[in-house]
């Protein structure tokens, strides 16, 4: 999923100039930030909570660990990581979008989670950390919005400690034909309608459906992680492959 030779990339089904994609994605998330959590629950019927639980269970996180929750948005993973790493650990909630970070920070502070969480606005392609900094890195439903995914994976590999692991939770491809048809119908008709009704923004949710279709499938993403340097990479499909959890280690 590299950029094309003529410096263009995809934004949903549209082809746009590479340097414009980040700001276009930013506009989408500025627009949906306030209603992000409620839309997540509505769109996934609450199942996103189970996908995220599984990600944390597979992270091997322990007290004292340093965790980077990339594209952390409104902080669902950060909230649990913050408790699990304890006072001696640290969680960095990173997102390229300041609107999402603000919503996340407010939500976590209101829940009393302070002390071991840092909020950093950052680009996943150029992580502003030293080499070998984190024990665990997660990126949940964020990689598909990154312009240069290979560069982002290499950057994650660089800042991961030897022995650490990366978890990529992302929409993927189902190989069940009936489910795929149902899912397409849901994504391109119901989803934008829900977006219009709840967040008054159908276009952003149309982009969501399109960007999922343009995202690399399970095997392609696995090979991209291998190329970035990760070892023992594997993935597990969830909900029939609609979502996949990829995992890779740095040794």
């Amino acid at each position: 999923m590299k950029e094309s030779q003529d410096n263009t990339t995809h934004f949903g089904y549209k082809t746009v100039e590479t340097d414009k994609k980040a700001s276009m994605v930013a506009d989408v998330f500025h627009s949906v930030a306030a209603k992000y959590d409620i839309m997540n629950d509505l769109m996934s019927f609450g199942i996103h909570r189970l996908w995220k639980r599984q990600t944390i269970a597979c992270s091997g996180v322990r007290a004292g660990h340093k965790v980077l929750d990339l594209a952390g948005g409104t902080g669902d993973l950060t909230a649990r990581f913050s408790e699990l790493v304890g006072d001696k650990g640290q969680v960095v909630l990173g997102d390229i979008n300041d609107s999402m970070l603000k919503v996340g920070r407010e939500k976590l502070r209101d829940s009393g989670l302070v002390g071991n969480i840092e909020y950093v606005q950052m680009n996943a392609e150029m992580l502003p950390f030293d080499d070998n900094t984190f024990d665990v890195i997660t990126i949940a439903f964020g990689l598909r919005n990154v312009t240069d995914k290979d560069k982002a994976l290499r950057s994650m590999y660089r800042v991961l400690k030897p022995g650490g692991r990366l978890l990529v939770l992302e929409f993927s491809k189902t190989d069940n034909e009936a489910l795929a048809k149902l899912y397409d119908m849901y994504s391109f008709t119901l989803l934008p309608a829900m977006g219009k009704l709840v967040a008054n923004d159908s276009e952003s949710y149309r982009y969501l459906a399109e960007s999922i279709r343009m995202h690399p499938d399970q095997e392609t993403l696995k090979s991209m992680m291998d190329e970035a340097g990760f070892e023992q990479t594997d993935y597990q499909n969830m909900t029939g492959g609609i979502v996949a959890l990829h995992r890779g280690f740095k040794f």
Partner: protein
């Protein structure tokens, strides 16, 4: 996904227990941030439990390092509500334990000390009198169900063992096990003798 759902349900129940039985926090604080992994053999599921000082977290399916790992089937794990059973179950080879034994004992003790005053909590919603009546009625019902269960079990045992003769009596079963053990020893001894004879034959 089912494992995640199971973890979520268990976690919610444990945290509810933590809220309703404040003693539990004190007991679990000694194992704060330590991870106990539980491999439920017959369900082919591995989960981990950790207390962070705020909440209990259940990680399922677990894939990480634990301070203590126990492995047993579900009925055996349910016996751990009685802390004195822990070492007995290990000795009987029903339960495997690796790592910090004290952590397993801590969680077993925590389950034993779980004492929720249901009447007190229910009284907030329906008042003292009705809450006590409801809790007493529930206890009576549970006691009755337990008694009925024991009677049904005894009746069915009698029916299958004595009347229909389709199930062995425990004593017959013990005798059969003893006979199998004796036969096994005899076969083992015969096997050794045959091996020795074969070696002798090769030597000649």
């Amino acid at each position: 996904m089912l494992a995640s759902l199971l973890g979520a349900v268990l976690e919610t129940a444990l945290n509810k227990g933590l809220k309703l039985s404040p003693e539990l926090k004190h007991v679990l604080s000694k194992g704060q941030h330590k991870v106990l992994s539980v491999d439920i053999r017959d369900q082919n599921t591995c989960l981990a439990v950790t207390y962070t000082g705020i909440n209990i977290h259940v990680l399922c399916p677990f894939d990480g390092e634990a301070d203590c790992s126990i492995s047993a089937d579900l009925p055996t794990l349910l016996e751990l509500k009685d802390p004195s059973q822990l070492t007995a179950l290990i000795r009987q080879d029903k339960l495997d334990l690796e790592g910090d034994l004290a952590l397993a004992q801590l969680y077993s003790n925590a389950l034993a000390t779980l004492d929720i005053d249901w009447a007190e909590h229910l009284a907030k919603y329906v008042g003292d009198g009705p809450a006590q009546v409801a809790v007493d009625a529930f206890h009576k019902l549970a006691h009755r169900a337990k008694q009925d269960g024991q009677v049904a079990k005894a009746t069915l045992t009698g029916l299958f063992q004595d009347e229909l003769k389709v199930a062995p009596h425990p004593l017959e079963f013990q005798q059969f096990k003893q006979q199998v053990r004796t036969l096994n020893n005899q076969v083992e001894s015969l096997n050794q003798r045959l091996s020795a004879l074969l070696q002798q034959n090769k030597g000649n």
